[in-house]
């Protein structure tokens, strides 16, 4: 034969990636900066540390959940049940704590047991969603639409249509988990930051993250590439459940109660944050840092509308809707590239 495979073709070393600013990648970040500038111009209290930590603390529940949603969506799935799941976990946690109070007495051990119950229930709920979609071969949308209704009904039933309240004494012990913190930064913010950083690293730098985006991009290719598609899928739902558990155990001390109104529409907020952050809804591409920015953008809109009276805060939802649609428009124009 006359071909030498060693001889490098003229094009064997094409130019490496060109440096330069990519506005589609940085879009969410620019939007965030714009909002901060706008907020600062409209209200001088906006940049106060009190307001900023308020915004971040409120972002943290949805944020922690949205990090999980980023993995689910990147893998080509969806989890609509997270809001109801949070309510169900909150209700069950409080009931468990109240029930064990007589035996264990009010104290940190009891709170820790309560937290463990929350985390455990999250894992189990996530596993149920995951097993139904992978082993049961049911569309994720349908499975989680079903469990969304189930969790919501369960918490309503547990609360007997009313509210489940945490015992006062325990509530006092538990309170610092929401209000306390280190160096002026409250625990929810710290946990959110940790979850986000770990999530980003896992998504970008581990085989699991790579597998998630491969499956979301083309499940068949992933299967033929010896990826355990079902296991990875299952894991994303379990991770999502666990993170709902974490968010809930930070949330419970805030109000000290749970009812059928707890966590309503959280799933949509989480999904919206993921999409604003640049993750594609049909899967295949996800970035956790984008999700974090998405969450913060959503709560900033809320915050700015509340701080200023230029526009009615009742229009909050409309602004968020506009942002979501803009984000998707940006995503689409990214497609033609390269």
């Amino acid at each position: 034969m006359t071909v030498s495979t060693e001889a490098p073709a003229p094009s064997a070393s094409p130019p490496r990636r060109r440096p330069g600013v990519n506005f589609h990648v940085l879009g969410p970040l620019l939007a965030l900066i714009l909002l901060v500038v706008l907020g600062a111009l409209l209200n001088d209290q906006f940049l106060s540390s009190g307001n900023i930590s308020n915004v971040l603390a409120r972002s943290s529940f949805i944020g922690i959940i949205a990090v999980g949603a980023t993995f689910v969506i990147t893998t080509g799935g969806i989890d609509l049940s997270v809001g109801s799941m949070a309510a169900f976990i909150a209700g069950s946690m409080i009931l468990a704590i109240n029930y064990l109070l007589a035996g264990m007495g009010a104290g940190w051990p009891l709170v820790l047991v309560g937290m463990a119950v929350g985390l455990g229930l999250g894992l189990i709920s996530g596993a149920v969603n995951g097993l139904l979609t992978t082993r049961g071969r049911i569309e994720a949308f349908i499975v989680t639409l079903g469990t969304m209704g189930i969790f919501r009904a369960l918490v309503t039933w547990l609360a007997n249509g009313g509210t489940i309240s945490l015992n006062f004494e325990v509530g006092d012990i538990y309170r610092p988990v929401y209000y306390g913190g280190v160096a002026g930064i409250t625990w929810p913010i710290i946990v959110f930051a940790l979850v986000a950083i770990i999530g980003e690293v896992v998504m970008r730098r581990t085989a699991f993250g790579r597998h998630c985006s491969a499956i979301g991009s083309n499940e068949q290719v992933a299967r033929y590439s010896a990826i355990h598609v079902d296991n990875v899928r299952l894991l994303t739902y379990v991770l999502q459940g666990a993170l709902v558990g974490v968010a809930t155990l930070l949330y419970v001390p805030r109000l000290g109660s749970a009812s059928s109104a707890t966590g309503v529409l959280w799933e949509l907020e989480a999904i919206a944050a993921v999409i604003i952050g640049g993750t594609t809804l049909k899967g295949g591409y996800g970035r956790v840092w984008g999700t974090v920015i998405g969450v913060v953008i959503l709560s900033l809109i809320d915050n700015i509308l509340n701080l200023t009276d230029v526009v009615s805060p009742y229009l909050n939802g409309a602004f968020q809707g506009v942002i979501i649609i803009l984000a998707v428009l940006l995503q689409r124009s990214r497609k033609g590239e390269r």
Binding site: V3, T5, Y224
Partner: protein, 505 residues
């Protein structure tokens, strides 16, 4: 016929993608009633030129002329209205719709405000019958085989009553018989004065059916000649720019080494029954047979990609293979025939695609991106992958370069047994030679290779031993000089042989 005025022509047409120019000042013309073949290496720019001629993509510079007047299409619909129809290299069908709905997509026949379903069915039926296929117009496209889908594409194009019909590798996925019926349609259209532009990597086909040949190399036209004035070797030389002596490497003598794989009574429900065969170290084993005879399914069953039962012995040990992951650990790798649907992530770049199968080699806790980049450098050099940008989306690579990337991906896990399914589909002749070289080298290194192929020459030129399959069974085994076209065909058609290894319990 070359004296006739051009129906469709390009003048100094160029095309760039970002900073990369892929077509340079192309002057090209098509006259009525000719079959014009466009040939060139993978990535030469054939598909790009065809897309420009049919309005699917605008040129970056230059003009197109239709009937002598300059024209500018803003869409393919507009081009179709002017009688120019393109059959894309990639299939472009709506998978969830029926065959007839696809054929009339965007051109539905109507009666008043309603769809005239009956007329469409009748017409679809007629078109498919003309192509001598047995496809039911009411079946869903997702249920069809790749070659049937291609026939639907062709029927769809024929239904548009084109003046200019442009076909991008229509025969790459067709069986010999289907290709023949396509050629009869081409002859009929040509007699009606339709101008046909056509590309294929099968040079014998080009020689047989075209009137003129244009050769494209690296985005430039190197020559246009009457087909009568050039032979296949000449075409290959013009495409590649150098002499291509032997397409196939010298066959090593049949190895006497130990048996590395033994399969007994493998059943893949619905596709394969009682397949038994052995594979030696250093052997190249061919798997021939008609499309649909169960060759792919047999190997997918073996790889744990489909449910299967049977007895498998690997290097002396009985094993059960449930998943492709397990197969990979056992040193088996399978290169799929469906590189776009199952082989590569088209919307990702080369690096994640290359390492997807062997990712555990690049990660402990974290993926080592630098090692990945190095592996990509190696793969680009070893498999001669020609991408003009390193971060190009794999879907934008030319077909041949996709195939080389897929090969690199499969070889990255250093398998002992490699199963390659239609390894040279849609691949130019120079690259084919390279791929045959790789296969030969693998065998020489002591790996074992199973080659599934519908290309007779490939099976004959490459394999030490050939198994022939027919309707889900292995019906013949040929070795040495018995590996010849007529023998393989006789077995594949069922004129000779029976199940040589029947089911064993």
């Amino acid at each position: 016929m070359t004296g006739a005025p051009a129906l469709l022509a390009s003048e100094r047409v160029s095309r760039s993608f970002g900073p990369v120019q892929v077509l340079f000042d192309v002057d090209f013309d098509l006259v009525p009633g000719e079959v014009h073949a466009l040939i060139g290496e993978n990535g030469a720019g054939k598909s790009t030129l065809m897309k420009i001629l049919s309005g699917a993509q605008p040129p970056s510079a230059g003009t197109l002329r239709l009937d002598g007047g300059p024209m500018r299409f803003s869409s393919t619909e507009e081009a179709e209205d002017r009688g120019i129809v393109l059959i894309h290299q990639e299939l472009n069908l709506a998978d969830q719709l029926t065959v007839e709905a696809n054929i009339f997509l965007g051109r539905e026949l109507k009666r008043g405000p309603f769809l005239d379903v009956r007329a469409m069915r009748r017409e679809a039926h007629r078109l498919l019958a003309e192509l001598e296929t047995g496809i039911d117009p009411a079946s869903r496209v997702s249920d069809l085989s790749v070659s049937d889908k291609q026939m639907v594409e062709i029927a769809k194009a024929l239904s548009r009553r084109a003046r200019v019909l442009i076909m991008d590798e229509p025969t790459a996925v067709l069986t010999a018989r289907e290709s023949q019926s396509l050629f009869r349609q081409i002859a009929r259209l040509r007699a009606q004065g339709v101008a046909i532009l056509y590309t294929s990597h099968k040079l014998d086909e080009v020689k047989a059916i075209s009137d003129r040949v244009t050769v494209l190399r690296d985005g430039r036209i190197v020559q246009t000649t009457p087909t009568a004035a050039i032979d296949e070797d000449g075409m290959a030389r013009a495409m590649v720019g150098r002499d291509l002596n032997d397409l196939f490497p010298d066959k090593a003598p049949s190895p006497e080494a130990e048996i590395v794989l033994e399969v007994r009574g493998l059943d893949v429900p619905g596709h394969v029954r009682g397949a038994s065969f052995t594979l030696r170290r250093g052997e190249v084993l061919g798997l021939a047979g008609l499309v649909g005879s169960g060759r792919t399914e047999l190997m997918e069953g073996l790889m744990g990609l489909r449910p299967s039962t049977g007895w498998i012995r690997l290097r002396g040990q009985t094993v059960r293979i449930h998943s492709p992951g397990q197969a990979a650990k056992l040193g088996l790798a399978y290169l799929t025939e469906d590189r776009k649907g199952r082989g590569l992530l088209l919307d990702k770049t080369m690096r994640p695609n290359l390492t997807l199968l062997g990712l555990d080699r690049f990660s402990n806790i974290f993926i080592n991106k630098r090692a990945e980049e190095r592996a990509l450098d190696d793969a680009i050099a070893r498999f001669d992958i020609r991408a003009r940008r390193r971060d190009v989306r794999v879907g934008n690579l030319s077909g041949g370069n996709q195939q080389k990337l897929l090969l690199a991906k499969t070889m990255l896990v250093e398998p002992e047994i490699v199963i390659v399914d239609e390894p040279t589909r849609g691949i130019d002749i120079g690259t084919k030679q390279q791929i045959y070289g790789f296969i030969e080298k693998l065998a020489a290194e002591g790996k074992s290779v199973i080659v599934i192929s519908s290309e007779m020459a490939e099976v004959i030129g490459l394999c030490h031993r050939v198994l022939v399959m027919r309707s889900g069974r292995i019906t013949g085994e040929l070795t040495g000089d018995a590996i010849a076209e007529h023998q393989i065909v006789r077995h594949a058609m069922g004129l000779e042989g029976s199940e040589i290894h029947d089911r064993q319990h």
